[in-house]
Structure formats: C-alpha cells, structure tokens
Symmetry: C2
Subunit: 137 residues, 2 copies
DNA sequence: TTGCTTAATAAGAAAAATTACTCTTTACAA
DNA sequence: TTGTAAAGAGTAATTTTTCTTATTAAGCAA
C-alpha cells in the first residue's frame, strides 16, 4: 500500500466519526462538514472513508437502505440493524468459534482476516409503530 | 405486502439463480438473460431481485467490490468472501447462540428476523498469488 | 369461454449513491 | 528549495433505486 500522508480533511473526517456513535454514511459526514470546509468535495469524503477502512482505522458496516454506513469501532463486535428505520446499534461481539475459523482455513485453504456479524429485524420503536399500524388496518 | 402475480421475467430470473452456485450480481443476471429476452430492462432485474429477496425466495449476500450479490440458498448459513477476487462461498451455518438473540431481544426490545454472518479474507488461489507477489518484490 | 376491471409488472428515463479519472495543489524528504 | 507522489476538487462513469406510463395477468360477470 502507498505511503499515507497527513491531511487536514482526513483528520477532520476521522475526528467527526470518532465523536459520534450513529454509524454515519458518507453523505452524513459531508453534510456535517461542508459548512466548516466550504470547498470539500463529496468524492474526497468517499475516498478517505475507503482509505480509513482499508487502514482498519474505521470499519464498514454494510449498505443499509441504499447507503454504506461506517463504524468508529474496529474491534470485533456484532451489529443490530433495523430493517424499517435503518438504526445501527453495536452489540457485544459474537465471536465465530475459533474452531470454526480453523476448520474453514484448513478445509478450503483460506486466510481469514475478519468477520462481520449482523442481526436484522425491528428496533423497539419500530416494533411499536408496526403494532399500531396493524391495529389501524 | 401486495399480491404477487406470475411473471415470465421473474420466473426466468429465479430459474437462472437456482441453476448457479456463483452468487450472482444484478448485472451478471442481466448479461446472461439479455440475448434470450432482448427487451429486458436492467431495472426489471433489480426490481425482481429485490422482490424475490423480500419474499425470502432468494437472499442478499452483501455488496462485494461495489456490487450486490445474491444467493439461491435462503436457509441460514455463513459465507466466506475473498477480499481480492470477490469469490463468495457457502459455509455451514454458524448459528448465533440462541441465548445471544434472546438476550438482545430482551435487553433492547428488538424483534430479530434474521442474521448474516460473513468471514472475510483470502481464498486459496489468491493466497498463492499474494505469496508470489511478495517473492517478486 | 369471452370480455371487463384492476392492480401488478415491464420498459425506459431520471435520480441517487458510489467509484473512477483528470488535472491541480500540497506534504514531505532529500 | 526542489522533486515526488499523495491528496483534493471537479467531472464523468458505474451501480442501484425511483418514477412514469403502458402492458398484461388474473379474478369476476355475463
């Protein structure tokens, strides 16, 4: 990988992500920053998010309702994702059994570098709303 | 959800996915079908893939190298994803402990409808290629 | 069966999200 | 200070979703 040079924009993007627990999207970052950095390009946000996740400084969560979401926490942990409102919540890690990774590596010859584990469903708020809608129909 | 009507295009899309184990992308499906169905629209492929996965007839795997991939197998199972070549491989299910789902549901009030579990890394072929590249540099 | 009704489906265009590319600016080492 | 390559802005291209209008599948009545 190429040398990584210091950059004001990247520092600011990272600071912003570190300060929130909302698992931001690229556009959220852009909207938050564009007043302070008027010349900021959305492409720059995307490029730096990609770079930061490749450097394992932040982490990709996955595409939720059409937008990639990111996570300041790189240590292994699971996520809950609400299918209705798009909420992302950190959960304590659900480690794949060490035996499982070992077996896959041996059987198929893989190098396993990481894992992602997401539960999907309805969050508490959306659960209530769905119940209301049922009653009304 | 709305009533689902029979449709020639959707049947053909589903048949195609059932016949392969390559975890296709929308564009792969489109490329395979466009000769047989000259008027086929890429939008139709996307709409039907979305609908089939909402009906739980196929399953979304996730975005890999910029493209969403799909899986004919809807029963719970894990995936291995190669970060270098984009290979997707089915693995036997790594069930989240029933206790884990139960605990999340109770603690946060979630309704957990499903889970996705992916191992990421290098497949056997890419492992060899990376080794070669190391030797050459 | 035949024709009518309606709502799902399709095509095509447009919008949105993301990535790639080109050219300019800038960080940093020699 | 200067040479270099990384980083940025802006634009274009790609992938995916959404919207509009026309078509068509399927239930119902005659």
């Amino acid at each position: 990988m190429a040398i990584v040079r210091r950059s004001e924009k990247r520092d600011a993007i990272l600071r912003l992500i570190q300060q929130t627990d909302c698992h931001p999207s690229a556009d959220w970052v852009y909207q938050q920053m564009k007043d302070t950095y008027p010349g900021l390009s959305l492409g720059t946000v995307y490029r730096n998010l990609k770079q930061l996740s490749e450097l394992n400084i932040i982490r990709r969560v996955g595409v939720i309702q059409g937008q990639e979401r990111f996570d300041r926490e790189t240590r292994p942990h699971a996520h809950f994702i609400c299918n209705r409102c798009g909420l992302v919540l950190d959960l304590p890690d659900q480690e794949p059994g060490q035996g499982f990774v070992q077996a896959c590596s041996e059987q198929y010859g893989f190098v396993v570098e990481g894992h992602e584990f997401n539960l999907c469903g309805l969050c508490a708020d959306c659960k209530k709303i769905m119940k209301l809608e049922e009653l009304q129909s």
